[in-house]
């Protein structure tokens, strides 16, 4: 019985392969985008986790030097002998590779390859190997005099070795970079200040440092993954709805011939699950390809923006298979529940009557409008009262889904008005006929709306960001030359050397510390013409620079201000006995850290040992000064950067950040175009009876084909027009809500009408491309087929 029924159910797909293709392709595309994005995300996360586990950065508190960047070994021994359970780390760069030396005996549990099954301790200590992944090992091979062991789990561009080897390779005997604090400390431990007053304790970052920063970027990606998935599910929903509708008479016949309803529904559900699994499987494979092609960009983006190291190659993880298949099955379930329910509820005898279906649809439409209004209302409430990143994304979801659900109604009303004002019988018929097509096309149009809106929203965000950031760089990178020296002595000499040759010397000097309970930096500012003329504030008090210069006030960046809930006029404690009012808040785009800025004198009083080794130099003759520094002072060419270079680098970093987003945008738009194409194609077959009367009354088939094309364009244009405000709303949420929550800064929103026009054009092209073939088919329908409509009724 089951076999016979399955054969009957399957015969439908065999006779309608296009529908089957749409269904599977929709599922595959949806899953592909979702799992591709997830793959990129999880690959990046895995990379951070490896790095964090290797270096103990995320899990453990650390002790860092208050000034300079080394800790004498004696301090480590003194701490241990006072009962501080800390593990030493030596860090340095060799040919762009971060070499990390640890002491496996004192490193808190299972750091690095030692003790993780890679190699046992005596062997590690005896052979003194350097662990690195294959790519890093290849880089180091000829550069270091130590055996290199390939450990694939090692973070990219990182090499791990024993502390002794690291000190030898880095020429840093007796010096440590930082100390990792074990979470288990013994009783009776004296305070840190008593043993090592030159060290600062930095709290564990709760996950890795980079992980927290890059989370917002991943969140962005995930949102797009979900959006793409939603677009795909619209397609699947359409395909399933159509297939079920077409199989209604078959379902009735099957039941009349003795197939129990429950068994039938179960079989149909399992049939769909099989499709979901097949679609999911294809989707995960496609997603892998998407991820593989995006990953180099993502890696570059993250590396540039956050300094995080992401492995450029993809590893296929079992979790993607699971999550890909899972989301495919889930999506199919969501898309098919309505159709299956209606089959289950359909009375055996009434089912063949199309009216019943139409009434059910009428109800569904009312519900759809209600849900849409409800979601938009929630979106409004969230925009006003919501707080936090999750709320921001909730707002996005409500806004987008609510708008998508409202689309058919809005289009219907618009078309009705067009019909009313139409002149001529053809035009009236055209509008009426377009309205009639709406239900069949609405899912595809919703997909287009979402894709367009996402495109508008993201391009607005990216362009706003770029505009703001370029302006910010112009103001911030005012110095013509930036110079690095190797040590304090050279720095002092440099200041003396350049003093007569420059109009201003701006040392770059800061310490990492905690402000208002948050990790932050305190910057020293040598306040002069450059600061006074170039610096712009988001908010400022009168005589801001005079007060800061006098050491009576402090400046904070927007990140610190927002995170700590401080603003101009509030007090900020820089040290236990130094509390100053905030005189200004400045934009600090791209910096993950909170920052406070004080006058050079005050900074020196707070941190007398800190000394700058980097300087910005103001000059009218950058080339001349550069030559003098190299020729007369003996600086290397690499230690001098000019402003243009830094600006170009900073801009390229931000350009790359959004390459991935742009790629996803194009993919999403393509998926929406595909949805329109498939809808039109399936509608085309059902169109013949509707078009036959128009043809019989004197419209040529060619004219009918043209009208079909025009209809697609009209619908696409209308949808695009609706997508514009939705996209702008999306951009506002991204800039003013999500960005603030994720990054800590708010961006002014700029509008780019030309970009939107181009996008609209793209959507139009997509619609025309999608409609072209179905319209052509229609224009070439044999007259016999049209006549058949009249020959036998139903």
């Amino acid at each position: 019985m089951t076999a016979a029924t399955l054969a009957a159910l399957w015969s439908h797909w065999r006779r309608n392969p296009l529908q089957l293709f749409t269904l599977i392709a929709g599922l595959a595309l949806a899953t592909a985008l979702w799992s591709g994005v997830q793959a990129v995300n999880s690959e990046a996360r895995a990379s951070y986790d490896t790095a964090a586990a290797t270096l103990g950065e995320g899990q453990y508190d650390q002790l860092l030097p208050t000034a300079g960047d080394t800790i004498p070994e004696g301090t480590f021994i003194a701490l241990r002998r006072a009962g501080w359970i800390v593990g030493p780390v030596v860090e340095g760069q060799i040919a762009g590779v971060r070499l990390v030396g640890i002491d496996p005996l004192t490193a808190p549990g299972g750091l690095g390859p030692v003790g993780n099954g890679g190699m046992d301790l005596p062997q590690f200590l005896a052979e003194q190997p350097v662990f690195a992944n294959a790519a890093t090992a290849a880089k180091l091979q000829t550069l270091i005099d130590a055996p290199i062991v390939i450990a694939p789990a090692t973070a990219p561009d990182t090499a791990i070795t024993d502390i002794f080897v690291a000190q030898r390779l880095l020429n840093g005997q007796g010096q440590l970079s930082r100390l990792i604090v074990s979470p288990d400390q013994p009783l009776g431990q004296p305070p840190l200040a008593q043993i090592a007053p030159d060290l600062t304790r930095r709290a564990a970052q709760g996950g890795s440092d980079v992980g927290r920063l890059t989370d917002s970027f991943h969140l962005n990606l995930t949102a797009f993954g979900l959006l793409s998935f939603a677009v795909g599910i619209f397609i699947v929903h359409g395909a399933i709805g159509l297939a079920f509708e077409q199989r209604r008479t078959m379902i009735r016949t099957l039941r009349a011939l003795g197939m129990p309803l429950r068994r039938l529904v179960m079989l149909m559900a399992s049939e769909l699950m099989v499709f979901a699994l097949i679609g999911g499987l294809i989707g995960v494979c496609l997603g892998y390809l998407v991820a593989a092609s995006l990953l180099p960009d993502v890696a570059a983006t993250l590396k540039g923006l956050y300094g995080a190291q992401v492995s450029g190659t993809l590893q296929l993880r079992p979790s993607w298979w699971l999550s890909g298949m899972g989301i495919s099955v889930l999506g199919t379930g969501i898309a098919a529940t309505g159709a299956l329910l209606s089959v289950a509820r359909m009375p055996l005898l009434a089912s063949a009557q199309p009216r019943a279906w139409a009434t059910a649809r009428g109800n569904a439409r009312r519900i759809q409008v209600m849900v849409s209004l409800g979601l938009l209302l929630i979106a409004g409430l969230l925009a006003v009262f919501g707080e936090g990143l999750i709320m921001g994304f909730g707002l996005l979801a409500c806004l987008l889904i609510g708008a998508a659900l409202a689309l058919p109604l809005v289009l219907d009303v618009t078309l009705r008005m067009a019909q009313r004002f139409a002149k001529g019988v053809t035009a009236q018929w055209f509008w009426a006929d377009t309205r009639q097509q709406l239900p069949g096309l609405s899912l595809a149009l919703m997909a287009l709306l979402l894709a367009m809106a996402a495109n508008v929203g993201v391009s607005t965000m990216v362009s706003s960001f770029r505009l703001t950031f370029t302006g910010f760089l112009d103001q911030r990178l005012a110095s013509e030359l930036y110079v690095s020296t190797e040590n304090a002595a050279q720095a002092t000499a440099l200041e003396e050397f350049v003093a007569p040759r420059t109009s201003e010397i701006l040392p770059r000097l800061y310490v990492e510390t905690e402000l208002a309970g948050l990790p932050a930096e305190i910057y020293s500012a040598r306040i002069g013409r450059t600061y006074r003329e170039n610096w712009q504030f988001l908010a400022e008090a009168p005589q801001v620079w005079d007060r800061v210069a006098a050491g009576e006030a402090v400046l904070v960046n927007e990140q610190l201000a927002r995170r700590a809930g401080l603003w101009v006029g509030d007090d900020l404690a820089l040290a236990t006995d130094v509390v100053l009012p905030i005189a200004g808040v400045f934009g600090d785009y791209g910096n993950p850290m909170g920052q406070a800025m004080v006058s050079e004198d005050l900074f020196n009083a707070l941190h007398p040992t800190a000394q700058s080794t980097q300087f910005g130099l103001r000059t009218d003759d950058p080339q001349g000064l550069r030559d003098a520094l190299i020729r007369d002072f003996g600086l290397s060419d690499q230690s001098i950067t000019d402003q243009a270079q830094i600006k170009a680098f900073s801009l390229s970093v931000f350009e790359r950040t959004f390459t991935v987003t742009a790629a996803l945008n194009i993919l999403t738009l393509s998926v929406a175009g595909f949805a329109i194409f498939m809808s039109l194609l399936t509608l085309a077959a059902m169109r013949v009876p509707q078009l036959a009367p128009a043809w019989a009354l004197g419209l040529t088939r060619r004219r009918l084909g043209q009208l079909e094309l025009i209809r697609a364009v009209v619908l696409a244009v209308l949808t695009a027009l609706l997508a514009l405000p939705l996209g702008l709303a999306l951009a506002w949420v991204l800039l003013a809500v999500v960005n603030v929550e994720a990054f800590g800064w708010r961006l002014p929103m700029y509008v780019f009408p030309r970009d939107y026009a181009v996008l609209g054009l793209f959507a139009l092209v997509a619609a025309v491309l999608a409609a072209a073939w179905p319209a052509r088919r229609l224009a070439h329908t044999p007259p016999a087929d049209l006549l058949k409509v009249f020959a036998n009724g139903r």
Binding site: A4, A7, A8, S11, M250, A256, G258, L348
Partner: protein, 218 residues
Amino acid sequence: MLLSVKSLEKSYAGAEGSVPVLRGIDMDVATGETLALTGESGSGKSTLLHLIGGLDTADAGTIFLDGHDIAQMDDAGRAAVRRASVGIIFQQFNLIPSLDVTANIAFQARLAGVYDRQEATALATSLGLADHLHKYPEQLSGGQQQRVAIARALAAKPRLILADEPTGNLDEETAAEVMAQMLSLVSQTGSALVMVTHSPRLAGQMGRQLHLRQGQLA
């Protein structure tokens, strides 16, 4: 007695409350008997046929088919009766559009687990379908489609065949041909036949006639 209907009642919900369609029907059909149900539109003859075929549920009364009261059965039970004991031939031919003629004829027999390929082919041949076995319903004329539906009903070897205006969609000449073939085959198989028709001429070809008027047997 193959079929025994007692005090059968059925009403439908209408715009102004419940509308009675069948009001206390009693009837019996013996094995091998042919019976015509006649009556005007809305007299309830199709509803009666649906109830006998287990397509719908009665409000009151009993329908004993082969000794089982199908009026009391749930969906799964009635489905089992339909596939094993009843063959239904509709006015609209109700073939499965995506299956070819052979598969359509085989379908109910396979559901009931009594499919015999040779018998089915013989049946199709005797109905003049031999040249169309691998065509799909849309490629057949109305008369051919109804012959397929008849073959499908008979291939499952039901004890009772129900036909609802089986020739209603066919032209007169074809209708007569199809009718003759159906009656001939039914008499060969020994099944009982209950046919709804509004045509007195077709009713006259049946062994017995029952006339319905406003939900009651006249």
